[in-house]
Symmetry: C2
Subunit: 166 residues, 2 copies
């Protein structure tokens, strides 16, 4: 708990290094996806839907998993619907609730983009880290995430193991 108003040398290195890395990573991966015709947000939605039971999710749940505002979810789903990547259906029980369903076209787009995206994640990132560094990163995320909001830890990071090698 440093008390200065500015970052000292070590903190500064850590912070600027992290920022430079994360901005570049996002830029590269976003580029690749865009070339495949999808935005990062599109990709996220497609993945979440494809992992959901019946490939369908209420807009609320979608927003909760992605940590998005309801407005963002609404716009995103509308745009994807206009492109035929998802469909919308009402909920039988509660007419207020809306749900998004993965379409064939959406599933296809995901199948096409996923291997490229995964390759990018490796090529730009994971391939350059040792297993130990990957474990350190998990610990870092676990340390930081609880202080970033009401969101529960993503399933991958929940409880159990500390940081150990493969």
């Amino acid at each position: 708990m440093s008390d200065t108003e500015w970052l000292d040398g070590d903190e500064r290195r850590a912070w600027r290094g992290y920022v430079a890395m994360s901005e570049m990573l996002e830029a590269r991966l976003g580029q690749d996806l865009r070339r495949a015709g999808l935005s990062s947000a599109d990709y996220t939605v497609l993945v979440l839907l494809s992992e959901a039971p019946e490939r369908r999710l209420g807009l609320g749940e979608l927003g909760a998993e992605a940590q998005w505002s309801k407005s963002r979810v609404s716009h995103q789903v509308r745009r994807m619907q206009e492109r035929g990547l998802v469909e919308r259906t009402g909920d039988a029980d509660d007419p207020r609730r809306a749900r998004a369903v993965l379409t064939g076209r959406g599933a296809e787009a995901l199948r096409a983009a996923a291997p490229l995206h995964v390759a990018g994640v490796r090529r730009y990132f994971l391939d350059h880290l040792t297993r130990e560094q990957q474990a350190q990163l998990v610990e870092i995320a676990r340390s930081v995430l609880p202080h970033l909001g009401p969101a529960p830890l993503p399933p991958e990071l929940r409880e159990g193991r500390g940081g150990e090698e493969a």
Copy 2:
């Protein structure tokens, strides 16, 4: 160098953890800045200009330091100019070149926002990491950045020390 098409358990944990953390961090810090009347991009430009000799920078150099496209730089500087945060001057030598100069209003905005932003960086991030984890992060950034583009490492990360404690 794994050869599968998908991420295995450890890789997946590392990647999803990292993504969750970086998205939340950006969201929180962006929120705070926006409440102070600045976007993250505004803040970046103000910092770069304030650190530059004579508080002035050619648009090209600005773009190089921030790793932005020239189009992005152009739009960004125009908008900041319209709000009085920067001014533009031509270059005496080469009429093609344009330069941005920090205005009084810009310097003021930065003075007002910086402590809040720094506090956020600590509160959301650095305070929850040990010095050792900060050092690990620096090493990770140094491992990854060279593979993300033509950009030279930011000055903070250049050569010399490995990862050691404070």
